[in-house]
């Protein structure tokens, strides 16, 4: 398949737009000078990812991503940013000033993975394009073959829930104790 063939498929236009959006948002996530902006760019990146999932006919996963991530996780992040009183304005001290090595390393990772992808798969087509995954199949798989991991994950979530509360809970200072008692 030549580049021409590739561009002639309309779906690839959609893909390109989404991909660029994802990469751009991702780039801003790691470079933004403002913490809130970074979190918001993450929303962009994740939304783009969800779009890519839709292209791959994984509807359930796409919407899960939107709901769980954009709906819950990012909100959590924003909470975290507020609570830790990270400077919401421009903050030059947000990054370390040693960017060369991480840059090189990241580039190397990208190069390596890209090379691996081309080397292994070249331009092979995706077979299931356009056929939406049956959600029933997904459900059966989740609660059938993968039921034990499923349960384990639920425990992990529970653990994380309890753990998060335990870790983040603050012992009241004596003054606060008194205040609470007074109320």
């Amino acid at each position: 398949m030549t580049l021409g063939d590739w561009i002639s498929q309309p779906v690839n236009w959609v893909f390109s737009a989404l991909g660029l959006a994802v990469v751009f948002s991702g780039f801003r996530v790691v470079t933004a000078k403002n913490v809130v902006h970074a979190a918001l760019y993450l929303v962009g990146a994740l939304a783009g990812t969800a779009g890519l999932f839709l292209l791959l006919s994984a509807e359930f996963v796409a919407w899960s991503l939107v709901l769980v991530y954009i709906g819950a996780v990012v909100v959590l992040f924003l909470f975290g940013i507020m609570i830790t009183r990270a400077p919401t304005g421009l903050d030059p001290a947000l990054d370390t000033n040693r960017k060369l090595v991480p840059g090189v390393l990241a580039a190397a990772v990208f190069a390596l993975m890209t090379w691996a992808a081309f080397d292994a798969f070249g331009v092979e087509q995706i077979t299931s394009a356009g056929v939406a995954t049956d959600n029933a199949l997904l459900g059966e798989s989740l609660l059938g073959r993968f039921v034990i991991p499923f349960e384990v994950v639920s425990f992990v979530l529970l653990g994380a829930l309890i753990g998060g509360i335990t870790i983040a809970r603050r012992d009241l200072t004596p003054v606060e104790e008194e205040e609470r008692a007074a109320v």
Partner: protein, 675 residues
């Protein structure tokens, strides 16, 4: 007139029995002192005599046992050996402990126990009120036990155990007053000098034992008599090594340096260990392995005789110039050990051992007498004594008996034994050495006359009013004076006492074929020469010192230029030995330590530092973009490897993460592209 005396039992000269109950249980003698040691260490503090009574009781039982054996051996000969295996190795190496009951060991049992008992009793009085009495008696018991283990040894291994055991006890007792580090140093000197000799003993034992396949002494003797080939191959080297061990313990020149210093111990210790018994262990060893020298290693004799001769005359001369009465006796002991060693080396098995036997009594007597004097005047120096003959009659007379016996005056014990040595030397063709020995007899008599004159005659020069020691100390003197006077009669050449034979025959009761060379009759001419030399020495000594000079300077009228300083400095042997050891060991040790810390460790530290520095350089170089990084790296290098190391170890999680990612990338690249 040489007689190679063949195994007495085989020839029917003496009908040896197996000793019955007393021989079977002779091991009790070896064990009792150790039991006493343990008891004294545990309950000694609570007893009225601080454990002295336990030690005396143990030796008393032992003495009874030894005396019974001694008498049995006199009348019928006793030959027995009992061993227990304590371990063995597949290739036939067997280690055993046990006890030998034969002529030689019975003589030593009797000697050690009898003299030991007398000295222990004496010590009850001498040490009364001293500090750490229980430790004194415990260590003394330890010595007695080790000595018995040594003389009862059926094999070289047990002999080595006893050998080092007595060395240990000697170390403890020389350094008995360890608050003063000088005494400790004397103990160290003794132990280390002995240890040098022990290298010879251990290597000799290995050579002989491995070639023979056994460490058993009886088998060693038998193999030597049978001219065993394997043994013959190592006989000269092994014999010399064993002799080297004997030189250490029996204080032969030049390993004699420890013995005079060993006088730092309490006087009973000097009497029992550093005169009567322990120092004779070397002679005993030479007698035990006598067949080796007789049959296989005769080549070594010349050397051994010469060393003995140097010791007997050279070290004897040193006794002329010292002021410390114990040191006079110590030098005398070394000299007498030279006699014994010369005799045994020359082939005079009986002659050497007989001198060992008689010497033990009169030298112990002399030391105890000296102790009695020291006890009275609270000083070791003869310049603080004088005129004690009236205040201390018993001490005086017994001391005189001992001195005359030592000098070799007829008919006291020393006369007979010394005469026998002279006779053996003469008959074996060591004529020069014989004359050296005669000269030695002269010197001996001379310094003993000097000693008596300065100590007991003239006027008292010390402080306070000395008076005779209590009976608990004087009675042991008498108990030793009697054998000192009479025991020479046990071995008059050619005379066999009715019913009991002679010392020569008792000693000959051994399991192995022996090769003793001894005189069959008295050589009156030689005896006269020896006696004349001794008398001349006595007379000259009396002439010079009898008139009692007032000061030390005048008393030592023999301040011959060159010779006097030479003798005072003990031929510089001590200085040389200490100088060499001090000049080499210390710097060598420091050098080794320095190498360890700076060379070996230095290399390791530098490698470690360099690796970390390299890491730092790579990281910082990349990080700080080229030239800057290099310069920083260089400055880091000058800053020392250590500080660079810290930079690598930043504690910054992200730097670690970078390293992790980099590592992962490298691994992937390796696996994908290289492998």
């Amino acid at each position: 007139m040489v007689t190679a005396m063949v195994m007495a039992v085989a020839e029917g000269v003496v009908q040896a029995g197996d000793g019955g109950f007393f021989a079977d249980t002779a091991g009790i003698m070896l064990i009792l002192p150790f039991v006493a040691f343990a008891l004294i260490m545990t309950v000694g503090k609570r007893l009225p005599y601080h454990g002295g009574e336990i030690a005396v009781a143990a030796l008393a039982v032992n003495t009874v046992w030894a005396t019974v054996l001694f008498v049995m051996n006199m009348t019928g000969g006793v030959l027995d050996q009992t061993t227990f295996e304590i371990g063995s190795i597949g290739s036939g190496l067997v280690f055993e402990l046990g006890w030998v009951v034969d002529g030689l060991s019975i003589m030593m049992y009797f000697l050690v126990n009898f003299v030991g008992l007398v000295v222990f009793v004496y010590a009850l009085g001498y040490m009364h009120g001293d500090r750490r009495l229980e430790w004194f008696f415990a260590a003394f018991s330890l010595f007695a036990g080790s000595m018995l283990v040594l003389v009862g040894a059926p094999n070289l291994i047990q002999l080595i155990i006893g050998w080092e055991g007595v060395g240990l006890a000697s170390y403890f007792l020389i350094g008995f007053y360890w608050e003063d580090l000088d005494n400790v140093r004397a103990g160290n000197k003794a132990f280390l000098t002995n240890k040098v000799g022990d290298v010879g003993l251990i290597l000799g034992a290995i050579l002989v034992g491995v070639s023979l396949g056994t460490f058993d002494l009886a088998e060693l003797g038998a193999a030597a008599a049978a001219h065993d080939e394997a043994l013959g191959a190592v006989a000269v080297a092994g014999g010399l090594l064993l002799f080297f061990g004997a030189m250490g313990k029996s204080a032969q020149f030049p390993l004699h340096i420890w013995l005079p210093d060993a006088m730092a111990g309490p006087t009973p210790v000097s009497a029992l260990m550093h005169a009567a018994t322990m120092v004779t262990a070397g002679v005993y060893l030479m007698a035990r392995v006598f067949p080796l020298f007789e049959y296989l290693a005769a080549d070594t004799r010349q050397l051994m005789v010469v060393i003995g001769a140097i010791t007997l005359l050279g070290i004897g001369l040193l006794a002329l110039v010292v002021d410390d009465i114990k040191r006079v006796l110590a030098f005398s002991t070394v000299s007498q050990l030279g006699y014994m060693m010369t005799a045994v080396a020359a082939g005079g098995y009986t002659a050497g051992l007989f001198h060992l036997f008689t010497h033990a009594f009169f030298k112990a007597l002399l030391f105890l007498g000296a102790g009695s004097v020291i006890h009275a005047v609270h000083s070791n120096n003869m310049s603080d004594m004088g005129g004690l003959r009236k205040e201390m009659p018993t001490t005086y007379w017994t001391f005189v008996v001992g001195s005359l016996a030592l000098a070799g005056i007829f008919p006291l014990a020393g006369f007979w034994s010394k005469d026998e040595i002279l006779a053996t030397l003469g008959q074996e063709g060591y004529i020069t050495v014989m004359w050296v020995a005669v000269a030695g007899a002269f010197v001996t008599a001379f310094y003993m006359a000097r000693c008596i004159a300065l100590t007991f005659h003239g006027t008292y020069k010390g402080h306070g009013h000395p008076h005779e020691s209590p009976p608990i100390m004087t009675r042991p003197l008498v108990a030793l004076a009697i054998p000192s006077a009479l025991f020479g009669l046990l071995n008059i050449p050619g005379v066999s006492l009715p019913g009991i034979g002679s010392f020569t025959e008792w000693l000959a009761v051994r399991e192995v074929v022996m090769g003793d060379h001894h005189a069959e009759a008295i050589d009156f001419g030689l005896a006269a020469i020896g006696l004349a030399a001794a008398l001349a020495g006595l007379a000259l000594g009396w002439l010079v010192y009898g008139k009692d000079a007032v000061t030390q300077m005048e008393r030592d009228r023999f301040q011959v230029p060159l010779l006097y300083p030479l003798l005072r400095r003990k031929y510089y042997v001590d200085d040389l030995a200490l100088g060499v050891v001090g000049a080499t060991t210390g710097p060598l040790a420091r050098f080794v330590n320095w190498t360890n810390n700076y060379v070996i460790d230095g290399v390791i530290n530098i490698v470690g530092g360099a690796v970390k520095w390299l890491g730092g350089l790579v990281y910082n170089g990349l990080d700080q973009r080229g030239v800057d990084g290099v310069f920083n790296g260089l400055s880091a290098m000058t800053d020392g490897a250590g500080s660079v190391l810290r930079r690598w170890q930043t504690g910054r999680v992200q730097q670690y993460a970078s390293a992790f990612v980099a590592g992962a990338i490298i691994l992937v690249v390796l696996f994908v592209f290289v492998v």
